[in-house]
Symmetry: C2
Subunit: 424 residues, 2 copies
């Protein structure tokens, strides 16, 4: 008998009929001989409706009260799901984050999980019941106030509970079949990835893949907990995210590139004419850190000998751009830079693959593919298993498509790579 943790997102429980369908799937898992713990998000648009209500009442609601408000969303969906399961003749018990023992810090709106003490969940399972747990929420260790975990919170709840319960797998249900080699809306030949490593999945999440949040993959990696990303509309195998996808009973050879990710949500700021003195760059990035802005890529040109000045470019979430520009304006006199340039018409295209470690020439192939379709590269950043480039936003689709084909990821090319063992 296995312990299976399943997580269903808001679109999987959008209305009564969705909830009944999910209940059937849960009961089927239970009937197959598994213990089942389910993490559920708020129904469809509930969170947006609650935020809208809050906005009508207060332009700047206190975080504690906003968390109290928003957590009612999962309370509704989890109770309804438990009822639907009861209808099918199985006993289910719903639990709030607090009741499930999800202990967090007190940072309302984006609390971090400190500990998970799921004694009531364990008890429910031991009594043969299906436990339904509210995702996205916890209770503060210090203040005993209700908290929310912020973006990716329900996935993180699922992985954290699965780890604390030493579950065999954490199944994340979504509206697609799994993780793809590229966004199928851009690359029609994109394929579902059967297995991928935590490291690659983290790079995918950091580079714009929205299927799993970075935070939840990090958590799973720390506890070596297998994640199975799959569709709530079919019973097909989805994508397994595991520590070493190519040795655990699979016959596949590791591909060079696992997937191509893209991200249109970033903007680029260039600080022009920074005096080339020790510590100037540090001042700039300390200012941005103080404003709690996450910087992604950074490029500094070689300084021009004639002027003793250099340009520093960086990318950041477009949503943070206004704050960043305002902060930088304030230190213009102190730093003595000349001007600021801003560009939000950019996109990031990333190749991710642990296989590129042992395959030289990946960068050359990637850049040649982009050149062939006339896409210009503005910035470059690399890790051991990733190459990212910044291109013009209107070149993103062409770049993703070209890279996908250049690394033989298209559906019609894949046989050759997987079974042919070509070392290209």
């Amino acid at each position: 008998m296995a312990l299976v943790v399943q997580k269903y997102g808001g679109s999987s429980v959008a209305d009564a009929s969705c909830i009944k369908r999910v209940a059937q799937r849960i009961v089927a898992t239970k009937k197959a001989g598994n213990d089942v713990v389910v993490i559920v998000s708020a129904m469809g648009d509930t969170t947006d409706e609650l935020l809208d209500l809050a906005e009508q009442v207060s332009p700047l609601p206190p975080g504690r009260e906003l968390d109290m408000l928003l957590t009612s969303g999962e309370r509704i969906s989890m109770a309804l799901l438990a009822m639907a399961i009861a209808n099918l003749g199985h006993e289910a018990r719903s639990f709030t984050g607090s009741q499930a023992g999800v202990i967090t810090d007190s940072t309302h709106g984006k609390a971090r999980i400190i500990d998970v003490t799921p004694s009531r969940i364990r008890e429910a399972i031991d009594q043969g019941r299906i436990a339904i747990v509210a995702g996205f929420q916890g209770v503060s260790q210090d203040t005993k106030d209700i908290t929310t975990l912020g973006r990716g919170g329900s996935d993180t709840t699922a992985v954290a509970l699965a780890a604390a319960l030493q579950a065999d797998v954490c199944e994340i249900y979504t509206d697609v079949d799994g993780v793809f080699t590229a966004d199928p809306r851009i690359v029609s030949a994109a394929r579902q990835i059967p297995r991928i490593s935590y490291d690659e999945m983290m790079e995918m999440a950091a580079c714009g893949s929205k299927i799993l949040h970075l935070r939840c993959v990090e958590y799973a990696r720390r506890f070596d907990l297998p994640i199975h990303v799959r569709s709530s509309f079919s019973t097909k195998e989805g994508t397994w995210v595991v520590s070493d996808p190519y040795t655990e009973g699979t016959e596949m050879e590791q591909p060079i590139i696992s997937g191509v990710a893209h991200d249109r949500s970033e903007a680029k700021i260039t600080v022009v004419g920074v005096p080339d003195k020790v510590g100037e760059a540090a001042s700039i990035f300390k200012t941005l850190a103080d404003a709690e802005i996450n910087i992604d890529m950074i490029v500094q040109n070689v300084s021009a000998a004639a002027t003793g000045r250099t340009d520093i470019s960086f990318t950041l979430p477009t949503a943070d751009a206004q704050t960043a520009l305002t902060s930088l304006k304030k230190i213009q006199a102190q730093i003595g830079y000349e001007s600021l340039l801003f560009d939000d018409q950019i996109g990031k295209v990333s190749l991710i693959g642990a296989g590129m470690r042992s395959h030289p020439g990946v960068t050359a192939t990637f850049f040649a593919a982009l050149a062939d379709v006339g896409v210009n590269i503005e910035m470059i950043s690399t890790s051991e298993i990733r190459i990212s480039v910044i291109v013009g936003q209107d070149g993103v689709d062409a770049a993703v498509t070209a890279a996908h084909r250049a690394f033989s990821l298209d559906a019609d090319q894949v046989e050759a790579v997987v079974y042919g063992g070509s070392g290209r």
Copy 2:
């Protein structure tokens, strides 16, 4: 400095603008130098909407899960109210029933309060904060599951918390100015009652007055906690419910009759031809008690000597009639009664007044008033401070109006009674 507990019902917090208006009233109470604890119901139709969702998912939802679902309603309203107060520059903290220390038994849907341990509320007050508490809900002492208190639950929460905090007053806000001598929709000359005793108010509630639930008045009486029923739409004094309304600094003489209540929600069942043997009536009412049916009035005719049989009539909530008839059918052979009659076209009209203790002839005046307007009396029941009659449903309005006038309760008559000291 006083400690004021205020309770606002669903219609007082129906939307964002209502919530802001209530917030202003709360802040005004705080600014006047009081400590304030607020109990709030779910917004307007929220509970009905949640029940509708539950019905779509399950025809017979488990009580535990239904309570989990419904309690999200107050969670929403209390968080929004706390935000609205924060907007006005005062600090508010919202608390669920569980957080507020409302400890109940485990009877989901109609839990009874066992204990109130409001340490977090006390702490919030001591820190100068306004505490907002979810009405209608608590946490089970045994199972630690979330419970709801059932009908009148929010009023009961308010009174119970006020008692536990030793508040100076529990203000119950509603959409009318207070308790009236009769329903103003029937009797246009009905007046607001300035002060009334717990005993009278309990009789009013038991006899169809919907303004306060019997349960909440019982609770207040036990702890001698003054209730102030008043409108959330004005700052006028409402009705004070206290232990002895006519000695506490008022100059009023006690009226004979405090008010006329009516109730159209009952039905009458007659068990025809019951053998006049010891224990037959007991069997009938034990059967009904086993089916958890609350009987109101009972009349047994003198048995006819010729047949040795009698008829037993009783009234009960119309909603329970089907269950009662089914239960009685099952014991027909055992009891040997002849048939069952059912009538839901009845109404109950009740005179309530502690003053009738010292005034003989109240019954005669009441019955004469009904006879004058051609209303026939079907059943009668009395207590020391109440006379109730069952009449045909189409006679209710006439009976209420006639009784109101016969006991000089009409607005144009009242001066004579209150100040004239007429002992009629």
